[in-house]
């Protein structure tokens, strides 16, 4: 979408622009920040059935937008994000705004501070429109297990999906993926230009993939975790979701860097102001790890993986098969380490200092037990109990230490491949397009997470950067995406390659059924849409 075509778009189409385009529109005076904010909030309300938001911060958003307008009008915008509406997953603390983690344990909890990454966006003039829905405490791969209900995939509401769906839409909708499903759905349904998620085992990339948005998991340590309610301290990373790779790069550049309040942050490498305009793909060597054809990979996803690998090769890049031998066992290792760290991190919720507190007061232990029973759902409690099992003295060596050793082997697999001259790895992000909710809930949370996180969690174990880019729609009309994995702290190079890939695949813009511009544009988009069947 070039800048000139953006100038002639009807007002309603502003929401579908990228950050780069809408930021230009703000500076040119074609739209004001308050108008843009109003449009986003209207869009949130129009798409309320997606259940993507827990809290909508209408009033404060309009105030922030007003300040942005004052700055932009006097020619002094703070930067590329000034006046841009964004949303944040509800496990990031936001000052004076309820932060629930979609759990009864934190319903009504209002943090007295904002997470560093949230504050950085606010300091750039971005406008916070709301807190998004998730799986409770970020545990899950569907955004189906939070106390506020499941998030629906916006692509279930396009004419394309409805046409091939044989059932009543209310029972046929697809999941948004998880655990940052609300953030992905917000960006995909055009009610935000950018959203923050968190990524521990794929929680940003999984919903990004299923909702057809760009989702970046930066190198561990590049973005501060201060204010992100922790799940697994050694793997958690704030994730960035946008509708274009260039936008993700803009946001990364603003958010990266050391934070005194998070001792696991590292110095960011020096980064140019934007991705390179001219880039020769022939300089790149792409690795295809054979172990990433896992059982259950759908035919549509396999076809996309093959199509894009061929695209790289035809353009002159070197493409070669590589091996990451421990891939198959990575999910088990992740399961053990995750449960153990969760057991430790969840210990802070005892009702004394914040959050829910039960009325039982016979003893501290009785109060803690009832508080945790009332506050946590089954998924959280089961992970805590599993973690405690693995951490028992008699089990510690056999499970926890063993998993830590496995983790080194998994990280070494990646190191060896990159040492052999590979620049990036190309893999599927998820096994298939988004499942129907009614199918997804046939299995429990742990089973589903073990299945769905297969391609994403090895990256968290090794601390590497990875980005998912949507490439086409499946025969069901739902997004299919592919993942690129880069070397540690080479996020910029990773995004450069992802940007090239994005431009080749030409993924379509969403048109929700009933959009005012949908009927006109729908036919032309459908004719052009590269779906699998065509």
């Amino acid at each position: 979408m070039s800048a000139s075509s953006a100038a002639f778009r009807p007002a309603a189409a502003m929401l579908g622009l990228s950050i780069r385009e809408v930021s230009q529109a703000l500076r040119d005076g074609r739209v004001s920040a308050t108008e843009l904010c109003r449009k986003c909030i209207d869009q949130i309300q129009r798409t309320h059935y997606l259940n993507a938001f827990i809290t909508i911060t209408g009033e404060t958003a309009m105030e922030q937008a007003q300040s942005a307008d004052n700055r932009i009008r006097t020619g002094k915008p703070l930067g590329p994000l000034d006046g841009i509406p964004f949303s944040v997953k509800d496990n990031f603390c936001t000052e004076n705004i309820e932060t629930t983690c979609a759990s009864n344990m934190l319903k009504g909890y209002v943090p007295p501070f904002s997470a560093t990454v949230v504050q950085k966006l606010l300091d750039q003039g971005a406008v916070l429109v709301g807190k998004t829905n998730l799986d409770e405490f970020a545990m899950g791969a569907g955004s189906t297990d939070g106390v506020f209900g499941p998030v629906r995939n916006p692509w279930s509401y396009t004419t394309l999906y409805r046409e091939q769906s044989t059932e009543d839409l209310d029972s046929d909708w697809a999941i948004a993926g998880g655990s940052s499903g609300g953030s992905a759905a917000a960006v995909a349904s055009l009610s935000s230009f950018l959203a923050l998620g968190s990524d521990t085992g794929g929680s940003t990339r999984n919903p990004g993939s299923l909702c057809g948005v760009v989702a970046l998991k930066p190198t561990y340590g590049l973005l501060s975790r201060h204010g992100l309610i922790p799940l697994v301290n050694s793997m958690d990373v704030p994730g960035i979701m946008t509708r274009s790779v260039h936008d993700a790069a803009t946001v990364l550049r603003i958010l990266q860097g050391p934070d005194e309040r998070d001792s696991t942050t590292v110095q960011a490498p020096s980064t140019p102001p934007s991705l390179p305009e001219h880039f020769d793909i022939r300089d790149i060597c792409v690795g295809i790890p054979k172990e990433y054809h896992a059982p259950g990979l759908s035919t549509d996803t396999l076809a996309q993986w093959s199509r894009v690998a061929a695209m790289f090769e035809q353009a002159g890049a070197r493409v070669q098969e590589v091996s990451l031998p421990h891939t198959q066992h990575s999910i088990v290792c992740y399961h053990v380490l995750c449960c153990c760290e969760v057991a430790s991190n969840m210990a802070r919720f005892d009702g004394l200092e914040y959050g829910h507190r039960s009325t039982v007061d016979s003893s501290t232990d009785a109060m803690y037990t009832t508080t945790r029973h009332e506050g946590f759902n089954n998924v959280v409690r089961r992970r805590i109990l599993s973690g405690n099992y693995f951490l028992l003295k008699s089990n510690y060596e056999r499970y926890f230490v063993k998993a830590q050793q496995m983790r080194r082997l998994i990280a070494e697999d990646f190191k060896n491949v990159f040492r052999s001259g590979i620049d990036v790895l190309l893999t599927p992000t998820t096994l298939s397009d988004a499942a129907r909710y009614s199918d997804f809930i046939q299995e429990d949370n742990r089973t589903r997470s073990a299945q769905e996180d297969v391609f994403t969690q090895p990256v968290n174990m090794a601390g590497l950067p990875a980005v998912t880019v949507p490439t086409a729609l499946s025969r069901r009309g739902l997004p299919i995406s592919l993942q690129l994995i880069g070397q540690t702290l080479q996020d910029w190079k990773l995004l450069t390659v992802a940007h090239w890939m994005e431009q080749q695949v030409n993924f379509p813009l969403i048109h929700l059924h009933g959009d005012s511009n949908e009927r006109k544009l729908d036919r032309s988009v459908r004719e052009r849409t590269p779906t699998i069947g065509s």
Partner: protein, 179 residues
């Protein structure tokens, strides 16, 4: 027609019962024979229509099956509940733990002799140390406001050093406290 065929193919690649990354041998052979002929038929159709079919991407799953370890967990339900201060809730919860342990037992298939455990992926880096100076604080009031029971500058807790009641009493207590 094409839609349904593909849907069946992708279902056939997933064994019927919860996979959890473990493929029991009967399920795997179902997968292979169930979808084998269908898979190659569909692939051929695609090959003829797409001349740029890339051969670097493996066209079939590459994972090896692993047999499940039938290890029943010792009777630790009460001990775990006391350590975690979290209840299993139901028999289903205990079953979930059993499944989680069996899943975790796959770890033992891999030889890790002589491998150093990893605590952090940042182990090779020097972490930044700031000066040992107080730079912020004085927020007692804000923090106390977040708690349900406070007295002056204290968080109020029920009496300590009282062990949790026995399991039966605990279940009764938890049922009573339902939201």
């Amino acid at each position: 027609m094409f839609c349904k065929c593909a849907a069946r193919a992708s279902r056939a690649l997933r064994p019927a019962h919860p996979r959890c990354g473990v493929l029991t041998l009967p399920a795997l052979s179902n997968t292979v024979s169930g979808s084998g002929t269908f898979w190659s038929r569909w692939t051929c159709k695609r090959e003829s229509s797409n001349s740029a079919w890339n051969s670097k991407v493996p066209q079939a799953p590459t994972w090896e099956p692993i047999a499940e370890n039938q290890l029943p967990p010792p009777d630790l339900v009460d001990k775990l509940e006391r350590l975690a201060l979290v209840d299993f809730g139901s028999k289903e919860g205990v079953d979930c733990l059993e499944k989680a342990i069996r899943f975790a037992d796959q770890l033992h298939v891999i030889n890790t002799d002589g491998v150093e455990p990893t605590d952090s992926v940042l182990e090779d880096r020097e972490l930044y140390l700031r000066d040992d100076m107080v730079t912020e604080g004085e927020c007692a009031e804000e923090l106390l406001q977040l708690a349900k029971h406070t007295v002056e500058e204290y968080f109020v807790a029920p009496p300590g050093n009282i062990p949790l009641p026995k399991r039966e009493e605990r279940s009764a207590m938890l049922k009573h406290s339902e939201f």
